[in-house]
Symmetry: C2
Subunit: 767 residues, 2 copies
């Protein structure tokens, strides 16, 4: 953890001073993205020091061959992974023939990075002392356009400080790149064509196996003293194309290289038209020019913030933290394309392979539902509907039949991308989160249409899976579920994980209810679904039987549901009694010791109490929270938020705030000393939930939006907005009061602290 | 399974006809070894078809870097694996310049292999039709000397059948070899020196990292018409050295190349003297010559058979099977060197990495105790004593303290070589088998001296491990053992595996008893051990408490101990009800389904009933056998033998015989279609046990040797010998009677069918 690394600032991420040890971490933190592509904050100019080069195109993946120690039947032979894409940002700089390289130059002064979150751009500036004696002032500004989402923009300014000199810019494209995260050192890209035409260049390359065709393109212009500098074609080889600009530059004067670049991809265009489309994109970009593009960028981000900003007064670091979280979520996923999803590392790294975990349904959906238009959440649901066939295939590989669907633990294209048996085969609760998201979408938006159109088929496939996954225990005279891994991945292959059992029962019950609704109210859809799924009343009555007779491990003595069978046999020493030198246990203990211990990585039973809050009394929540939280080590980025929300609900604001701190600046302060691998994108939605659902106490209660606002002692006030059924509710909470304001057309009945309040458009109402 | 592959023969393994598809399988089946080295039955001459080249030197291993999918704390970073050694057997053959290659020649006729088990040699003969029209009769005989165990011998005879021709022999050494089983394609050998001196050649090479220095050597002589053929130095490069012999050979005449070769190793000699020692070995070998070496080989094997042969009348395939098992065990391990052990694949392949599993203590020790002099079993025990420090280190890595010892799942040098968490960290019952072997050695030999000298320290380290590995369950008010994998590896990470709990309790009890004995009867040893281990009465009384209060899962309804907590929750469908198309489940089912199922890979609860037979009544054995066997799929080569012994004990000879069949010809008939990877050496000891302990009913009962002989209906008679406390007991069993004969000096009181019988040296007594 490094609290002084990033300067406190309400709207920007700022780093001052050049530290080679931090280059990789900053490459993660200053990453930019526009939903369609994204990149780590790699330097444009050559850098010979430690760096993790990464540019990523949404939805472009590679099926790398699985490599595991010992093979188990059912493992995916290949799995899709995030793929480093050709580099379009590169600009080599030569000063009197000497190459600019921050790793080798004599000194780097006034080094500063700024990621301006309000306006959506990234800037880096420094003075480099070259070996040849020249001092060079450099400032480079970069952004990925939200409007033209195939286009990125760089303005690279160089000014010699002390001497006249010759400056050479070599902007280039490079498809000869590698992946950090490769199993067999396979080649992932095949470059088929390179072209340099005047000040533009194009590289056509396709991914091996998946055959995504891409055109990586650029256009470069250099300007000096208001005149454009002549370009010439530079080096061209099999995977590299460059353009060169040379200019004598007087001391104190500035030369600027403007580089437009990006990708066109066969996911969105005809394969044969990629270069033509690229040319059109470049024309649009250069017609507008840097300043107009930047102005549009600011506008687009202003719109996003308009809807999703959270303000916090009296705690600048908390303010910066929550904005960083909201900013990164929006950089990663804008919800325009139902083929895309929210990778755990977004566009900031490669770890974890695929792009979609249950994080999307359990953690991200609430954020996107409340801060975007409704179709964004719809798209996230549709993503899973589109993968239903693959989920059925996946279940078949494991021996399930009759259309049972098991969604993968992590995926790109619907296929499983994970290959630890205890996860792939056993962490099946992920399946339930998908049904829950359908319920949650309907609960929040009031829009039922997804269910007859798509959702019911998903619910049926998932219910079938659970129905087949349990077996009847003669001994217990109940249905049991053996060999699972719950959300607490510090337990593997356990029997009757309460959370999974409960979720399974709920999924079957919920599917049964929706079948009834659709049959009655959408008879045409029902006929289509019935014909497709061959669902029978015999089958559904079997589900009902299983759901009714599901086994739930319970400890009478403690009056809590047990995380799994046998939990009480553990050596129940609470986390607070562990020596600090033993933490985090995932670094200090052998796996064997972790598994035997009572320690919980992230909410497990409590995840169930979070999802199904209404099924349990406040007293039961308190009992379970007090039983399980003391064993919880929170060694997952997804852990603190659920606990923060529950602590707030129990009125324990000090504890809630402590949990909040652990999530909101996880990456900025590099708590886990791993930010160089990329950011924890999905858990950022949990940070948002901690404020909105935790401190703000937002719920849907009896079909109404409701709030129970509280405020941490450390803050003066905070405010957030909710897009509730196409109207905007703004909630401002101070130490003394909560004020609600409705933007929309129609009065809205809500509840505040359990009392009915009617919001009237344009009026501020105290709750 | 292929029952016609190997011809039925009482003393030989015979293959007739050349089938390219079977080359790799036969390379395994016709492997030869002499305890110090061994090799697959690779062709001497070049073969361009599918082959698995393997020559292995006992005790020479390589610490390959572990590669797993996802790392867990505590995994061994490196693990030692069986290492393919430089090739000394190669003899390239050219006929009028055309290279002999069975993969490409026009036809191969009269191809035959014979492995003569009685005499310990391997022969291959064939007629090759060359592309150039020449028909070549080839016969090659090879053996690895038991007397001079650094020396191997080849006589390679060639005779043109139809035309005179020029024959060129190119015998060579080659250290440019690879491992089939390499994680990172590392280079394992570094060749430092090559030398060709006349008709001898030497390659000095050492293994990377472990730095075992070796000299691979050869001497070649060719003879034609009673004259020796001149040799000249052939090709020499960095890792290859050859000698060449050219001779015009008349049709019908024979030219013979005699090649001596082998290894001298720094394990046994000074590094600087390896070539000198090799020269001495070659001199001894060439002074004797091929015929005398072969005669000595026959003598040496005759001595082995004298002691260990089992004869079966009336079932030629059973006869061949049991001899193959005994032969391979002797090829693998002769017990001369306490630094060596019995690898699961012996010298026949590389699978499974290291050389020592719990197979040694649980399955192989009884064979070696009963068929060899006592020091062989002592050496097997001493091997573990020598690894005690490493076992303590291994436990420390997992967080254990105070001298607790965890022996590795598989090892070469005492370090763990396995890296599945569910095995490495959890299949800890292996530890108990080591204590049991100490008990078993004393029980069988009557020799207590190992315990005060070495064994007690091992027993203490193991007892300490168990004592720390359990925890007290407040819920059960008993000590429980969480997160283990039993012998049935189709269950992982279970709680309270009965076998492991029972073994742990026994280990503590047994260690406590031996501490008392040693303290009383070997006070000097006790003081040394006490000073070294710092054992206190406080500690031992803690063990006693844990042992007394150990938890054993029990099912009142079935009156059986449960394999583990929750076993009765499974869907208890017996194996007989499974469709044949679903077998073997380890090939047909996903791992997930296997884990949830009740199916048992090999004896688990019943392994405990095997080890601790005397602790349970015949009635209890029957109940447990009838409960568990129907769920057992026997998908481990170690499974049928224990069940065969128990079925015999229960008087179910038909079932016992069925189990016996599954183990005795497992490799010869290639039941599992994997013999090409190597033989199942350790399970061969189980085959021996099936006859001796199963059919013969051999036990030590109340400190006396005892028998309960039975005979399978399919056999006319059988006979075996037991080296019991330095006297030989021969047992011959027919359908009508059992005859016992003692070779030794002293009368021996034994029990036969529960009745006392006194054997008198030299007399045949009917039991």
């Amino acid at each position: 953890m490094n609290q002084d690394y990033i300067k406190a600032d309400a709207w920007s991420i700022v780093e001052e001073g050049f530290d080679k040890e931090r280059v990789k971490s900053s490459e993660s933190l200053f990453s930019i993205g526009n939903g369609a592509m994204g990149q780590r904050a790699n330097f444009e100019e050559h850098y010979s020091g430690e760096t993790f080069q990464g540019s990523y195109i949404a939805g472009v993946y590679y099926p790398d061959k699985t490599r595991v120690g010992w093979w188990k039947n059912g493992y995916p032979e290949y799995f899709a992974k995030v793929l480093n894409a050709p580099n379009w940002i590169g600009i080599d700089v030569f000063v009197n023939g000497e190459q600019l390289d921050l790793n080798t130059c004599k000194a780097v002064k006034n080094f500063k990075r700024e990621l301006n979150m309000r306006e959506g751009w990234y800037q880096r500036s420094f003075v480099a002392q070259m070996a040849n004696g020249i001092e060079l002032q450099v400032k480079t500004t970069r952004f990925l356009s939200l409007d033209l989402d195939e286009l990125g923009v760089i303005a690279y300014e160089v000014a010699p400080v002390n001497l006249d000199c010759q400056i050479k810019f070599v902007p280039y494209l490079d498809s000869g790149i590698t992946n950090e995260d490769s199993n067999w050192d396979d080649k992932f890209w095949n470059t088929t064509k390179l072209d340099v035409i005047g000040n533009q260049a194009f590289i056509e390359a396709h991914t091996m196996k998946t055959n995504f065709a891409t055109c990586t393109f650029m256009e470069a212009q250099a300007a000096y003293n208001g005149n454009s500098v002549n370009s010439k074609t530079g080096t061209i080889n099999e995977t590299y194309a460059s353009i060169e600009f040379e200019q004598e530059v007087a001391k104190g004067e500035k030369i600027t290289l403007t580089k437009l670049g990006g990708y066109t991809v066969s996911r969105n265009h005809d394969k044969t038209q990629l270069v033509n489309v690229a040319k059109k994109v470049l024309k649009q970009g250069s017609d507008l020019g840097f300043e107009a593009l930047l102005a549009k960028q600011k506008e687009a981000w202003a719109k996003i913030w308009e809807m999703s900003d959270i303000t916090i007064a009296g705690d600048i670091k908390a303010q910066q933290g929550i904005r960083f979280n909201i900013f990164q979520l929006n950089q990663t996923y804008l919800g325009r394309d139902s083929r895309l999803n929210i990778g755990p590392k977004g566009f900031t790294g490669e770890k974890y392979g695929g792009s979609t975990y249950w994080d999307t349904e359990a953690y991200c959906l609430p954020f996107y539902m409340a801060t975007k238009n409704q179709e964004v959440a719809w798209n996230l649901l549709e993503y899973r509907y589109n993968h239903l066939e693959k989920a059925i295939e996946n279940a078949e590989k494991l021996g399930f039949t009759n259309g049972a669907a098991l969604y993968p633990m992590v995926t790109m294209n619907g296929e499983e991308c994970h290959n630890e048996w205890e996860i792939t085969f056993e962490e099946i609760h992920r399946n339930g989160a998908i049904s829950f998201a359908i319920f949650n979408y309907h609960r929040f938006t009031g829009d039922y249409s997804y269910i007859p159109k798509m959702g019911l088929e998903v619910l049926i496939g998932i219910a079938r899976f659970w129905h087949q996954r349990v077996n009847f225990s003669e001994d217990k005279q109940r249905y049991v579920m053996l060999g699972v891994t719950g959300p607490n991945e510090y337990e593997n292959n356990v029997n009757n994980n309460w959370y999974t059992n409960y979720l399974a029962k709920w999924c079957m019950d919920y599917a049964l209810e929706q079948i009834e609704v659709v049959e009655k109210e959408y008879p045409q859809d029902y006929r289509r679904i019935q014909a497709k799924t061959k669902i029978t009343t015999e089958e559904t009555s079997d589900w009902a039987k299983v759901a009714d007779q599901m086994y739930f491990p319970y400890a009478e003595k403690h009056q809590v549901f047990l995380q799994q069978d046998g939990f009480l046999d553990k050596d129940l020493v609470q986390v607070s009694e562990l020596d600090k030198s033993e933490r985090p246990i995932n670094q200090k203990w052998s796996w064997d010791r972790i598994l035997r211990s009572p320690y919980i990585k992230q909410a497990d039973v409590l995840q169930g109490f979070y999802f199904f809050e209404d099924h349990f009394s406040q007293e039961a929540l308190e009992k379970h929270f007090d039983f399980y939280e003391p064993f919880t080590v929170h060694e997952s980025s997804l852990s603190p938020c659920v606990h923060s929300i529950q602590a707030a609900k129990l009125g324990r604001m000090e504890q809630a705030y402590t949990f909040y701190l652990r999530t909101s600046r996880l990456d900025l302060d590099d708590y886990n000393k791993e930010v160089e691998e990329g950011l924890h994108i999905t858990s950022m939605a949990g940070t948002w939930m901690s404020i909105v659902e935790g401190f703000g106490g937002m719920r849907i209660t009896d079909g109404q939006l409701s709030f129970n606002p509280q405020i941490p002692e450390q803050w003066d006030s905070y405010a957030f907005k909710i897009n509730y059924r196409n109207q905007i509710v703004t909630i401002s909470v101070s130490k003394t009061r909560s004020v609600f304001e409705l933007t929309g057309d129609t009065d809205l009945k809500i509840q505040v602290n359990g009392k009915p309040v009617t919001l009237v458009p344009g009026e501020k109402i105290e709750g």
